[in-house]
């Protein structure tokens, strides 16, 4: 009897520990929604989402976050355009073409890239990339959308490479053997047989990269210049993440300004949820294959 009671208590404790994760997700969602809605209500949804001007501290404050949304979208898209092809070909190379030692060496280099804190990317971007852009393109300030795009492209590389490699490694060897036996060369086999067989996994890798790029704050804040302009390649811009990060410290608690920052976070959160849903879709399909 006593033993039964103990077992039940232990079971309950583990159940609670398991449900903490669920509780955290609910807590985060509720907090973001509750603190994000009031400002949207006060400003008006269309003025907030589609307003082109952000001047929270002016005499006639304006709270339009279209520049941030577009900057985040363009910045992420730009990073994907550079990062996905490089990551994809590197992944195919490491998974299929590279021999044992080369694979281990480049693989651990990729691991290092994944482990480097984002502020270090920001620091190097600030001191190498920003001056370089200023020199090469002859613009007054190199802190721009382009700098952010390049930094983000580098930062998503390891995610794309690692997840793609996992998917490519899981392709059954029989597929490749069959292709080789039919007279295809190894390279043709990698790209015409292995890659299509791993396409859901590669799609998941891309979705993961999008999530990381759109959510990155610290590296971007150091290279993008942080002016609330509409996005343009050589213009100083502000992302959804950096809008929150750069103004949170000096917005006064309880003001509409601070509440609007929470609304920005809510918009960002919705973007992330959308990407997560896409990611889950691809992962499920991969399991089904």
């Amino acid at each position: 009897m006593k033993k039964r009671l103990l077992e039940n208590i232990v079971h309950g404790v583990f159940l609670i520990l398991g449900l903490i994760t669920v509780g955290c997700v609910l807590l985060i969602t509720v907090y973001l929604v509750v603190s994000g809605i009031p400002a949207i209500r006060e400003i008006g949804l269309t003025d907030f989402l589609f307003g082109r001007e952000w001047e929270p501290t002016g005499d006639d404050p304006k709270y339009g976050i279209l520049p941030f949304i577009l900057t985040s979208v363009y910045g992420t898209a730009g990073a994907m355009v550079i990062g996905v092809p490089v990551g994809f070909f590197t992944a195919v190379f490491l998974s299929k073409a590279a021999g044992g030692k080369l694979r281990t060496a480049v693989g651990s280099a990729v691991d290092l890239l994944a482990g480097i804190p984002s502020v270090i990317y920001g620091l190097v971007g600030m001191l190498v990339l920003v001056p370089a852009i200023r020199e090469i393109f002859d613009v007054p300030d190199g802190a721009s959308l382009l700098a952010a795009i390049i930094v983000l492209a580098v930062m998503i590389l390891p995610n794309i490479i690692k997840v793609s490699i996992t998917a490519l490694d899981a392709v059954p060897k029989e597929y490749e053997d069959a292709s080789l036996a039919l007279g295809a060369t190894p390279t043709e086999t990698f790209f015409r047989v292995s890659v299509p067989a791993a396409k859901s996994g590669i799609a998941a890798a891309v979705a993961l990269g999008v999530g990381r790029a759109i959510g990155e704050a610290m590296a971007v804040i150091m290279v993008a210049g942080n002016v609330a302009n509409m996005p343009s390649l050589f213009e100083s811009v502000r992302f959804l993440t950096t809008a929150v990060a750069s103004e949170m410290a000096y917005s006064s608690p309880g003001s509409l300004h601070r509440e609007a920052l929470f609304s920005i976070a809510l918009v960002l959160f919705l973007f992330i949820m959308l990407i997560n849903a896409a990611l889950n879709f691809f992962l499920k399909r991969r399991k089904g294959e």
């Binding site: 520990l17 280099a109 990060a245």
Partner: protein, 285 residues
């Protein structure tokens, strides 16, 4: 022999793909090499004993990062103390206790969601949840990081629980052990490797985190003991790097911290690989 049979078009395709593969891999590897050399070359000369062993002082016009190092250690310890029991417990629930598939699905989905949320959002929620209740402090930062690292610890523990052979459990049950006794004496020792790997991965993430700590742990550089430190505001190494580089223009110090962080990252990756190899070998015997 093959060359004669392959058409020019196929040969062009193969050549293009091979060039793209080699170019991309070289670019990636070159990038890592550049970052590594650049950061160490700019950072290591600034790493002096004085920098490592003092706190910043305006009077003597010097910058020291000892408080930041200690804050990083405190926050790592505080986070692990909370996240390990919760994460491992959740993993045990999922693999050993849960019978309802829907509950498992919900918990796993929640973990996936948590791991996709960007750190700046953790920072905001941590500020609302913890800092607004008991002040901007390392403890508030640590609790925020607990939520962030929960999925990592849970997943690694879960993976290694799955590798504990079912026959071990059956053996324990057959000898008359109850469920809890089986978990405690047979299952848990079998997933030590997962717990260690989860620890290492979490330490890496905690050391590298900055956006989530900016509004929860703040950026003070005071020299404190553990308990005093946990209840007061303090910058970790990454936050200090950000502040020195962005706000104060002290690039020498920023690079010194960057070099230290880079070496730490290397050590963490190395230890993760080595533990993985060690346990894989032990399991095969």
């Amino acid at each position: 022999m093959l060359k004669g049979k392959i058409s020019a078009r196929r040969r062009a395709y193969i050549l293009t793909m091979r060039v793209l593969m080699w170019a991309s891999a070289t670019l990636t590897a070159g990038l890592v090499l550049f970052l590594f050399v650049y950061i160490l070359a700019n950072g290591l000369p600034h790493v002096t004993w004085e920098l490592l062993s003092t706190k910043p002082s305006y009077l003597e016009d010097r910058i020291g990062i000892l408080p930041d190092i200690l804050n990083t250690v405190y926050i790592v310890l505080a986070t692990l103390v909370f996240v390990l029991p919760i994460g491992v417990g959740a993993a045990i629930y999922l693999t050993e206790y849960a019978k309802n598939k829907r509950v498992v699905g919900v918990i796993e989905y929640a973990a996936e969601t948590l791991s996709g949320i960007p750190s700046i959002i953790y920072g905001l929620v941590g500020m609302l949840l913890f800092s607004n209740n008991f002040g901007t402090s390392l403890l508030a930062g640590a609790l925020t990081l607990v939520i962030m690292n929960l999925p990592t610890v849970m997943r690694t523990a879960q993976e290694s629980l799955k590798t504990v052979p079912q026959s071990y459990r059956e053996g324990a049950f057959g000898l008359g052990a109850g469920k809890w006794r089986t978990v405690r004496t047979v299952v848990l020792p079998g997933c030590v490797d997962g717990i260690i790997t989860g620890c290492i991965l979490s330490v890496g993430r905690i050391i590298g985190e900055s956006a989530a700590l900016l509004f929860t742990a703040g950026f003070a550089h005071a020299l404190n003991g553990v308990f005093e430190g946990l209840t007061s505001s303090g910058a970790t190494l990454t936050v200090a790097l950000y502040v020195y580089a962005k706000e104060e223009g002290e690039f020498g110090v920023a690079f010194a911290i960057a070099a230290i962080l880079l070496i730490l990252t290397l050590l963490i990756n190395l230890s993760a690989t080595l533990t993985g190899r060690y346990f894989a070998k032990r399991r095969n015997i």
